[in-house]
Amino acid sequence: MTFPEDLQYTPDHEWTRVQGNRVTVGITDFAQDQLGDVVYVELPDVGDVVKKGEAFGVVESTKAVSDLFAPVSGKVVEVNSPLADAPETVNEDPYEEGWMIVVEATAPKELAELMDAATYRKFVEEEQE
């Protein structure tokens, strides 16, 4: 189970990569492991507005469905559309090729509320007990 140091995390098991006010979002290695083989990812359209804590999409395995929650509020500026034909990318490479959306954050202070890698790792370990 990997927890890249350069990312921030949410309690819903999403990760964020922050570059200026652009925030790339995906699901963590732990999340894809829990979900099993991903068969479908439902993502918003470019231009859609998302609000922190609200669902922006859905990720499906054969037997489970999980909402994807926005870690920050803002506007969707990029969507990883190849995931539609290759959902397995989320399992194979959750932190790089498996990215899902890029959000232009409108409330940068929300970023401070995210967990760092060490805190998230501990969070996951506690959840497992």
Binding site: V39, Y40, E60, T62, K63, A64, V65
Partner: protein, 445 residues
């Protein structure tokens, strides 16, 4: 009691293992005040021999010696005995939903074959594993269209089966969606000018019967074009599936969702149920599709097998975000249709469809000779509406002779004075030419 194997010795041993003295103790979690303090007030138990005569007496009170000349959504066809004998195999009959695919490959492959038959008959790419019936399939198709287009209005033809329209209204009662009904013309087909006027950019779908309730081959391609120009989906609804053996496939006429019932194949009329509804869609709509679906895959040794798939659309996973709350499909009824369609095959189906058309023509000719013309001018398949003067009286008079003559259309279209004398009747391959002739003469009186 033959279904309860427990001997007193069994019960004693089992109670011991459970650590209780009586079966009653096992119900201790039910508060006393909620327990029923008396036996159920239902008739006393009877043995199989008495049961048989009791039910035979009840069955005899239904007059079924002569094949019915009534259709209107349920059609008396010949079901080869081979269908029932295969259907009654306990492995098919007493199996459940194929959640453990390894020991349900029979059910799953048969469902895959059903799905394929439905796509072949409808000319569309994807079918699910069957629906409750034609009316609910139609309602679910409309709901699918509202989801897929994010629009809240549906335009239906008044020539669509009235039962189906009532069910649609019930299903849409809590969604706030609007149903607009457009009239039919003197040819019995949907009034296309009225349809054009009613369809707009708020319309999610247009629904047309195919054949429609009057047995008429409706203007499906034109209606589909009107729907598409407004960005709406075209839905066809078929109650007499044998017609799909002669008429062009809805998918080849622009239809996006084809629904209806396959009761005509492998299933008797059964006083209205059960029967297999069907729902077929264009590829792009699959994520919105309700109901179960079987798919092909491989097992760990690489051999082809079948499983239920795309389950995340369904209630047991999506719960309140499901495409529908449907759990059960019409398994056995769909299997009966699948077996019958396999026996018919390409040649048998074409033969059966042409034969039904011929019987419909023989009925029309016989009624014409007896002095009864057609209510509508449009082309029909095996069912048509005849002008018989007092349709209710005809039905009653023939009922006293043990013949189900048809349905007076005024019952369903009370507001249309032109329907007063109209009787909707059908002839299928189970009606011999002699019987058809006798029927027409009997109507004449």
């Amino acid at each position: 009691m033959r279904y309860h194997p427990h001997t007193p010795g069994d019960v004693r041993q089992m109670l011991d293992v459970c650590g209780v003295k009586s079966i009653d103790e096992l119900f201790r979690s039910i508060p006393e005040k909620l327990r029923l303090a008396r036996p159920l007030d239902v008739p006393q138990a009877t043995d199989e021999i008495s049961l048989l005569s009791e039910f035979q007496r009840l069955a005899a009170r239904n007059q079924t010696e002569h094949p019915p000349f009534v259709g209107a959504g349920a059609y008396a066809h010949h079901v080869p005995p081979a269908v029932d004998q295969l259907l009654l195999r306990g492995e098919f009959f007493t199996a459940y939903t194929p959640y453990q695919p390894e020991i349900a490959q029979g059910t799953l492959q048969a469902l895959f074959e059903w799905q394929t038959f439905v796509t072949l008959l409808t000319g569309l790419e994807i079918s699910n594993a069957s629906m409750y019936d034609g009316a609910t399939a139609t309602a679910e198709a409309v709901l699918l269209a509202t989801r897929a287009t994010s629009r809240g209005k549906v335009v239906v033809s008044a020539a669509l089966h009235p039962e189906y329209r009532k069910v649609l209204a019930t299903y849409l009662a809590s969604t706030g969606d609007e149903i607009v009904t457009v009239p039919y013309g003197p040819d019995g087909r949907t009034d296309l000018a009225a349809l054009e006027a009613a369809v707009d950019d708020r319309t999610a779908a247009v629904v047309i019967g195919y054949p429609n309730f009057f047995g008429v081959v409706d203007a499906l391609p034109e209606a589909a074009a009107i729907a598409h120009r407004a960005g709406a989906l075209a839905i066809s609804s078929t109650s007499e599936a044998v017609a799909l053996g002669l008429l062009k496939a809805p998918g080849d006429l622009g239809v996006d969702v084809a629904v209806g019932t396959m009761q005509s194949f492998g299933n008797g009329v059964n006083f209205g149920g059960p029967a297999p509804g069907f729902l077929a869609i264009r590829e792009g709509l699959v994520r919105q599709m309700p109901g179960r679906v079987a798919g092909a895959t491989v097992d760990r040794t690489g051999r082809r097998g079948f499983v239920l798939t795309l389950s995340t659309r369904e209630q047991h996973i999506r719960r309140d975000k499901a495409t529908s709350n449907i759990c059960t499909n019409a398994g056995l009824a769909a299997l009966a249709a699948t077996i019958h369609l396999s026996l018919l095959g390409k040649n048998g189906l074409a033969h059966l469809a042409r034969l039904n058309f011929a019987r419909g023509k023989q009925l029309r000719d016989a009624m014409k000779r007896a002095g009864f013309g057609l209510r509508f001018t449009g082309p029909t398949f095996n069912e048509a509406a005849f002008e018989v003067g007092d349709a209710e009286a005809v039905v009653e008079r023939l009922a006293s002779r043990g013949i189900a003559a048809g349905v007076p259309l005024s019952r369903w279209y009370p507001g249309d004075p032109r329907m007063k004398g109209a009787l909707l009747s059908v002839a299928t391959e189970v009606h011999t030419p002699e019987l058809i002739e006798l029927f027409a003469q009997t109507v004449k009186g």
